[in-house]
Structure formats: structure tokens, C-alpha cells
């Protein structure tokens, strides 16, 4: 590949990285349900990817490489912070909610709250597979875990979500029940 081709490929990859901003933000949001943090992490991941573009050996793996950077940004952030996040006090952001959409909003909040309750590893697997359509092998690469672990975490996550969501309980019921049973205490998110 001559210099011009290399230059084009790098520019092309950079454009593709920038185009992934919203995807990175959405996944970061699903991990922490904090729009400011998601925005920071997506931005940071893109900046790192742009400066490390030379390290990407297989252009076909750009997506998993990019989300691998995002997971490292996520880990670094909480490694530095070491603070606690009380998921019961977390405010779930969403668009304006007209009265007639209240029921819909309740359902959406209920799903997000249930995902926030999952252990971090399960939450990351379920969102990467479900929201971004990554294959199990790609998720294994992003999170640096075996494919078997991806499958078992996904299975546990979906079983737990089914228990939370496929009942007649409302979001508030789940939250209150778990709080009462002591499961919903302050959680350190690493």
C-alpha cells in the first residue's frame, strides 16, 4: 500500500470513528444511565481512538476495537473516582413525557432501572449484544473475556431481567421490594 492509500485509509477510518459517536454514547449511557458521564466517555473514547489509529491492525475490527477503548475509558474513570453510586437515587433521563405516554415511560424506566441493577459484567454484555448487535466473539474481544463467559453472563442477565420485567410488578414495586430485602444498597461500580 503506498503512502496515498495509507493516508486515505487512515482518514476513512477517522471518519468512521467519528460516525460512531452516538453508538458509543448510547452504550455508555446504558452502562451508567448518566448522560454527562456517557457524553464524556464517548468523547474520550473517540479522542483516544483518533490518536491511536495507527494501532488498529485490522480495519474490519474497527467497531470492536473502538468499544474496547470505551470499556477501558469506563474502567479508568471508576478506578480514578472510587466513589459510590446509589442506583436508587439515579435519575433516569428521557425525553419530555406527555401524560398519555406515562405508561410507556414507566416501562422504559423499568427496563433501564432493571439493567442498572445487573452486575456490571452482565450489564456490559447484554447491552453490547442487544443494543449494538456485536457477535459473542466480538464482545469477548472487547471485554477480554472468554466467549463462554459472554454466553453465561448474557444468560444470567436475561434471566434476571425476565424475573424483574415479565411480572405484573411495576418499576416501583421492584425497586421497593429489593430495597426492603436489602438487595438495593449502595453499590460500588468499578
Amino acid at each position: 500500500m503506498n503512502m496515498l492509500e495509507t493516508l486515505y485509509l487512515q482518514r476513512h477510518l477517522k471518519q468512521r470513528i467519528a460516525d460512531n459517536h452516538k453508538r458509543l454514547y448510547r452504550v455508555a449511557y446504558s452502562w451508567g444511565h448518566n448522560p454527562d458521564l456517557a457524553s464524556d466517555l464517548a468523547q474520550e473514547a473517540i479522542e483516544k481512538a483518533l490518536t491511536r489509529i495507527g494501532q488498529l491492525r485490522e480495519p474490519g475490527k474497527l467497531d470492536s476495537w473502538l468499544f474496547g477503548i470505551l470499556i477501558n475509558c469506563w474502567r479508568d474513570h471508576f478506578r480514578k473516582q472510587r466513589d459510590t453510586v446509589d442506583i436508587d437515587t439515579m435519575e433516569l433521563q428521557h425525553d419530555d413525557t406527555p401524560e398519555k405516554l406515562k405508561q410507556t415511560q414507566d416501562m422504559v424506566d423499568s427496563v433501564r432501572r432493571s439493567i442498572a441493577r445487573l452486575p456490571e459484567g452482565q450489564r456490559q454484555v447484554v447491552t453490547l449484544v442487544n443494543l449494538e448487535g456485536f457477535s459473542y466473539a466480538e464482545v469477548a474481544e472487547i471485554l477480554e473475556i472468554p466467549v463462554g463467559t459472554v454466553m453465561s453472563r448474557l444468560s444470567r442477565a436475561r434471566n434476571t431481567l425476565a424475573d424483574y420485567l415479565l411480572t405484573f410488578k411495576t418499576n416501583q414495586d421492584v425497586s421497593l421490594d429489593n430495597a426492603r430485602s436489602g438487595q438495593a444498597k449502595l453499590r460500588r461500580i468499578k
Binding site: Q15, T127, L166
Partner: protein, 244 residues
């Protein structure tokens, strides 16, 4: 009914739903799904969770921060692209690769005729196909498979109701000025009165706000106030939900 039908792990069922199961394993599972109510119930439960997760993050607001500062220097891309055909070829292959990985729901749609044959034939099968893309490949598969399902059910004299709901880029499917499928959609509507095309009012408003022009839809298109609300309502009513 095979003995294996009772032995599927949840990992295996998830792999099926996430399009990670191939060849004989996938075929055998689909055959067992026809025979085994319990197995079908387990798959439906996992599928429901999978759909709920997708829906819950479908409509999150855009990130507040834009990347304008980082992206403006890519604007000369087009000039270079014209002179380097070999790299364009490589990029094409790369896009093709990631493209195929996003087609899980299309595979499920293609499986739908097969799977649906196991259902209770006295009750109409109700399917909501949610279209958020204007990719020609996806839209062609959507229309082909929709027609297959409708024809199959008509031939078997079984009842089915299909609703095609569009929002986001999917709105282009039903826009008078954008859709290349106008005639085909009109023909489908003429042949099948159990097929409904529906657009999201919020998506229409967004396009109108952005372009400053009125959006004209294909004839007989219905409008719902919110696609998200429509999806959740239909799911509550027991409709099969497939996102395209």
C-alpha cells in the same frame, strides 16, 4: 418431540436469538420449537426481554457534545477517494462485513413463516415489523418476507395481521417523494387487507422541522402519535415484535 428439546440450555436459546447458532443446530432447534410448547415459551420469554432492552434505549437523546472540532478536517475525503479505487474496494468489503452482523432481525423475519406454523391456527397471528432503516437491502427483505408470510397464510387459510411501523430513517419507506416502493406497497395493500402501514407522527414532525417542508406519505398510510408507544402497546397485546 426429541429428547434434546428438553435439554436446551438458556445459553443455547440466547445464541439462537442472537443469530449465533448455525447450520444443523439452528435447524434442529427450529424444528423442536414447532413441537414443544415449553421450549417455545422459554424462547418467547427471552425474546421479549431482548426486545424490551432494545426498546428502552431506542430513543435516548443525542449526546450534548458534538464532535465538530474533531471532524471538520475530514471534509477533503471525497477528493482523495476518487483517485484510490483499490482502497474503496477494501472499504466496501469491510462495510459488507459489519453489515452482515447487523441482520439478526432479518434472519428472524425469514424464520417467521416456519416458526409461525407451529402456532395455534385458530387465533390470528399478529406481527409488528418495526422499520428504522432505509437501507434498500433491508427494505427489500422486509417487503419480500411480508409478502411471503401473507401469501403463506392466505394459502393455508389461516389468519394473520401484519403492521409495518416506520420511524427514523425508516420513514423514507412511506414518503411519497423518497420511496421507490410506492407501487409495490400499493399492490400489497390492494391484495391484503390484513396489512397496515403506519408512520410515527414524531418522526414526521422532526423531518418537517429539519427540512421546512411538509412530508407527504404514500396513500393509505396510518399515523400513530409515537412509534415507541405503539410498539409497547402492541407487545402488551401479545403481538410478535420484529425490528428491521
Amino acid at each position: 418431540m426429541t429428547q434434546e428439546s428438553f435439554n436446551y440450555s438458556n445459553e443455547m436459546l440466547n445464541a439462537y436469538l442472537d443469530n449465533e447458532l448455525a447450520g444443523e443446530e439452528r435447524k434442529r432447534l427450529i424444528e423442536d420449537l414447532r413441537e414443544n410448547d415449553g421450549l417455545r415459551h422459554r424462547v418467547c420469554k427471552l425474546e421479549q426481554v431482548r426486545n424490551m432492552v432494545s426498546i428502552a434505549y431506542h430513543d435516548i437523546p443525542d449526546p450534548e457534545r458534538t464532535l465538530a472540532a474533531n471532524t471538520h478536517h475530514f471534509s477533503s475525503l471525497a477528493a482523495i477517494a476518487a483517485s484510490i479505487m483499490i482502497v474503496i474496494g477494501m472499504a466496501g468489503g469491510w462495510f459488507g462485513h459489519s453489515y452482515l452482523q447487523k441482520d439478526q432481525s432479518l434472519v428472524q423475519l425469514a424464520d417467521s413463516v416456519l416458526l409461525s406454523s407451529a402456532k395455534d391456527t385458530t387465533q390470528p397471528w399478529r406481527v409488528l415489523l418495526h422499520v428504522t432503516s432505509d437501507d434498500p437491502f433491508r427494505l427489500n427483505v422486509l417487503l419480500d418476507e411480508t409478502e411471503n408470510i401473507l401469501r403463506e397464510y392466505q394459502n393455508k387459510q389461516q389468519k394473520v395481521a401484519i403492521q409495518i411501523l416506520v420511524n427514523g430513517k425508516g420513514l423514507n419507506l412511506l414518503r411519497n417523494d423518497k420511496s421507490p416502493y410506492g407501487k409495490r406497497i400499493a399492490q400489497l395493500q390492494k391484495n391484503y387487507d390484513n396489512l397496515v402501514f403506519m408512520a410515527c407522527a414524531r418522526a414526521i414532525a422532526r423531518v418537517q422541522q429539519k427540512t421546512g417542508k411538509n412530508v407527504q406519505l404514500l396513500p393509505n398510510t396510518q399515523i400513530t402519535p409515537s412509534a415507541l408507544s405503539e410498539v409497547l402497546n402492541r407487545q402488551r397485546e401479545g403481538w410478535t415484535y420484529i425490528k428491521i
